[in-house]
């Protein structure tokens, strides 16, 4: 673009093709050669938009993983330190732990409707089924569905990835009021 053909033919071309007269440099402009590079502009814009969305989504997954890690840890700590004396107390402790995990996600700025926290394992030593006893290993799993597209001030759309974190700890073997034997821990 912006080239001027020299010689006497340039004047003829200007008249024939209606070229626009240039500025101080006396340059002539027309649309010749425009299609020879115009595709680079939308293509470059596309790369920029897609690349930005890719990096933003990758970071969103990393940030969501950090949030689910914290939620799973908070729920597990709440559960293994809860005052539990029987099965009903264990169910209440599980419900409280789930609420604690969801609160940890909300504190991180996450949408609780996209999240779930659940007790996924309660392995008691020497027992076939799950039981809240000393040295039982409790595992909580926190899940968060990361939006496919997140827009500032507007929110997220779709569910592209499901981020999952789990955390496990032992029920304290030397606490008061918990059934079971401490010697089965080691």
């Amino acid at each position: 673009m912006g080239t001027t053909a020299g010689g006497g033919r340039a004047g003829v071309r200007r008249r024939d093709e209606g070229a626009v007269r240039g500025g101080r440099g006396g340059r002539d402009r027309d649309d010749r050669g425009l299609m020879g590079g115009i595709e680079a502009l939308p293509f470059g814009l596309l790369i920029f938009v897609v690349g930005t969305l890719l990096a933003a989504n990758a970071y969103a997954v990393v940030a969501a993983k950090s949030a689910t890690d914290a939620a799973a840890r908070a729920a597990t700590r709440q559960f293994v330190e809860a005052p539990v004396v029987d099965a009903a107390g264990a169910r209440a402790a599980e419900a409280e732990a789930v609420v604690t995990g969801l609160e940890a996600l909300v504190a991180d700025g996450r949408d609780p409707d996209r999240a779930s926290v659940a007790l996924t394992g309660l392995v008691a030593p020497g027992r076939s089924g799950p039981a809240y006893v000393r040295c039982a290993r409790a595992t909580f799993t926190a899940t968060y569905r990361v939006p496919a597209l997140t827009l500032p001030w507007i929110g997220g759309y779709g569910s592209a990835f499901e981020v999952r974190s789990s955390h496990s700890e032992l029920v304290d073997p030397f606490r008061d009021g918990v059934p079971g034997e401490a010697r089965s821990c080691g």
Partner: protein
Amino acid sequence: MRVTLGRLRHRGTGPRPARIRRDGRGSSLVLMPAGVLIVLVLASIAVDMSVVHLRKRQALDLAAAAANDAATAGADPAALREGAFRLDPAAARRVVLRTVAASELAPDLAAAPVVRVTAAGVEVTLAVEAEYVFAGVMPGAPDGAVVTATASASAASSPSP
């Protein structure tokens, strides 16, 4: 910048080149892709560093959980019956290994957990591999990094109510 090519000496047998004047206008179009590329590379580096930071936090959480479990579950029962607290190094190590094996980080461990039992408690050191997301596509760049985390815990009797 203004370059005039019209006065260049013409050589060869082809037609005489047209007189062309060039200036700097439009050069930003050429710089734009380079700028976009730089922004994307910086964003990918930020994401990869976030992954490393996330792995370090995960390793620290796991080391703290393992040390916390080992500080109580690894206690010597015979010493407790005598009113003293003493950790059994073998039992503490077993508890740490079980806790680490139950974690989702177990496949990413770069080395076996290091368990150090002292009179005060137990100290756990973990080395975890963190794989980069974007750096792997660049030739010559490392695929990941190894992060380490150390946590310690000790047991104490709760105050009487």
